[in-house]
């Protein structure tokens, strides 16, 4: 019987739910998690890398973090092939805006344009929704540093700290407890790593299982997107005491 309301994205169930959208969110609940934290001098994104095989060669240093434009980056949880499509449209949107106005696209507009695309697939028939949640980190001149979270339904919201992917509820509640306003970027990194170390399934955090990216203003006042190198990340993990020094490896 449930088939009657499952099979198409465009149909409400009698309880007023859209099952396909909910299933998409479910799919994301199994994906590697990502955490984003807004600080007063930057935005921090931390992601969990799922190491599938030692034999797998990855072409890029990051598999969850993507630079959208000079001033915006995102972290992904969900189906990567779906995410690639959305990331591409986001990059195109950002460049279109720059072409029209010769100015970087305000972060919220970028998020909104992407969520409009996502929403379209929950309403116009025959297709499944995108199985992707995003964390967007960016800076613009109107609102400074911003962090947004979006889900497959096309909903989005601005957050001080947010988590997507596996165990996101546990991570979210930890963040809620430990987040303080006026947190510095360094503290934000520390908090993100701490939360991730507790919510991740694996026992010890290593730099192979993690990626860390930051959006902040450089000393010259330009927006900078920086991905942390594995070496620096390893040192950081030891420094913040979320992993044992190399001994156990």
């Amino acid at each position: 019987m449930s088939r009657r309301y499952d099979s198409r994205t465009t149909i409400f169930s009698p309880e007023g739910r859209l099952y396909q959208v909910e299933y998409a969110m479910e799919a994301i609940g199994n994906a590697g998690s990502a955490i984003g934290i807004l600080s007063k001098d930057g935005v921090v994104l931390v992601g969990e890398k799922k190491v599938t095989s030692k034999l797998l060669q990855t072409s890029t240093s990051t598999e969850k973090m993507y630079k959208i434009d000079d001033h915006v980056a995102c972290a992904v949880a969900g189906i990567m092939s779906d995410a690639n499509i959305l990331i591409n449209t986001a990059r195109v949107q950002a460049q279109r805006y720059t072409f029209s106005y010769q100015e970087p696209m305000p972060v919220e507009q970028l998020v909104q344009s992407l969520c409009d695309t996502k929403q379209g697939y929950t309403q116009f028939g025959g297709l499944r929704p995108f199985g992707v949640s995003f964390l967007f980190a960016g800076w613009d001149k109107n609102y400074g540093f911003q962090l947004y979270m979006s889900d497959p339904s096309g909903n989005y919201g601005g957050w001080k700290a947010a988590a997507i992917g596996a165990n996101n509820q546990a991570a979210q509640s930890m963040l809620k407890q430990d987040y303080k306003d006026d947190i510095s970027r360094e503290e934000a990194v520390q908090l993100a790593l701490k939360v991730l170390s507790k919510t991740m399934d694996s026992t010890s955090l290593t730099s192979e299982k993690l990626e860390l990216a930051e959006v902040f203003l450089s000393s010259s006042g330009k927006v900078k997107y920086q991905v942390c190198t594995p070496d620096a990340l390893s040192k950081m993990l030891v420094k913040y005491g979320v992993t044992q020094p190399a001994a156990e490896a």
Partner: protein, 214 residues
């Protein structure tokens, strides 16, 4: 320099009588003078029949037939308003200028607008700015600008007397010099001029230089 005077813009515009502008049959470009007081302030010009694009911005479009000009500026005005409505933040002067240029460039190979534009705006972050856009979609950020037949006189005048740290009073005086020059040397000089100012308090009319009675 008096700090209070910084960040002012004044601008002058020749206005032929309005009815003829609207009729779309102006035989000559009504000349426009635009003076900028530098990065600190600027004078520019505006056809009076148009409301300011929004509070802090003004454009002074000019073209052969009034109808097309009205269409284009109205189109831009409405789009700028729409942007603000949708996004809750205003378009900057720079973004508005680039938007206009883009529209002109797109139309250029289809059905070109015969419009030249001088756009003056003020933002808290960047201060006053002045942009010159012509009908073939050239965009320049400038300190002083003019177009139309009178521009030859006005530009020479401004080249000679303009300097970057002018006060508003000096800028208005220079505008008057330009107006005098055009009145005495241009055969088809318009009868009336209006000077407008854009600054932190918005865009507004400053004064008129009339030779006709209202």
């Amino acid at each position: 320099m008096n700090e209070k005077r910084r960040g002012f813009s004044t601008y002058v515009h020749f206005v032929r009588d309005f009815s003829s502008c609207w009729s779309g049959s102006c035989s000559a470009f009504p000349p426009v003078i635009i003076l900028q007081k530098s990065s600190l302030g600027l004078p520019s010009a505006l056809f009076d029949e148009f409301a300011p694009m929004f509070k802090r911005r003004m454009s002074s479009p000019l073209q052969l037939g009034g109808v097309v000009r009205a269409q284009f500026t109205e189109y831009v005005q409405k789009n700028v308003s729409l942007y603000q409505f949708r996004n809750g933040i205003p378009l900057t002067t720079k973004a508005a200028a680039n938007f206009m240029r883009n529209e002109l460039a797109t139309a250029l190979r289809k059905n070109p607008y015969q419009v030249n534009i001088i756009l003056a705006g003020y933002e808290k972050e960047t201060g006053p700015s002045l942009y010159f856009i012509d009908y073939i979609a050239t965009l320049h950020k400038v300190d002083k600008a003019a177009f139309g037949y009178g521009s030859y006189f006005a530009l020479s005048m401004m080249d000679r007397h303009y300097h970057p740290d002018m006060t508003v009073e000096e800028a208005i005086k220079l505008a008057d010099q330009c107006i005098d020059e055009i009145r005495s040397r241009l055969v088809v000089a318009p009868q009336n001029f209006v000077i407008k100012i854009v600054d932190k308090d918005g865009a507004r009319e400053h004064s008129w230089r009339r030779t006709t009675k209202e």
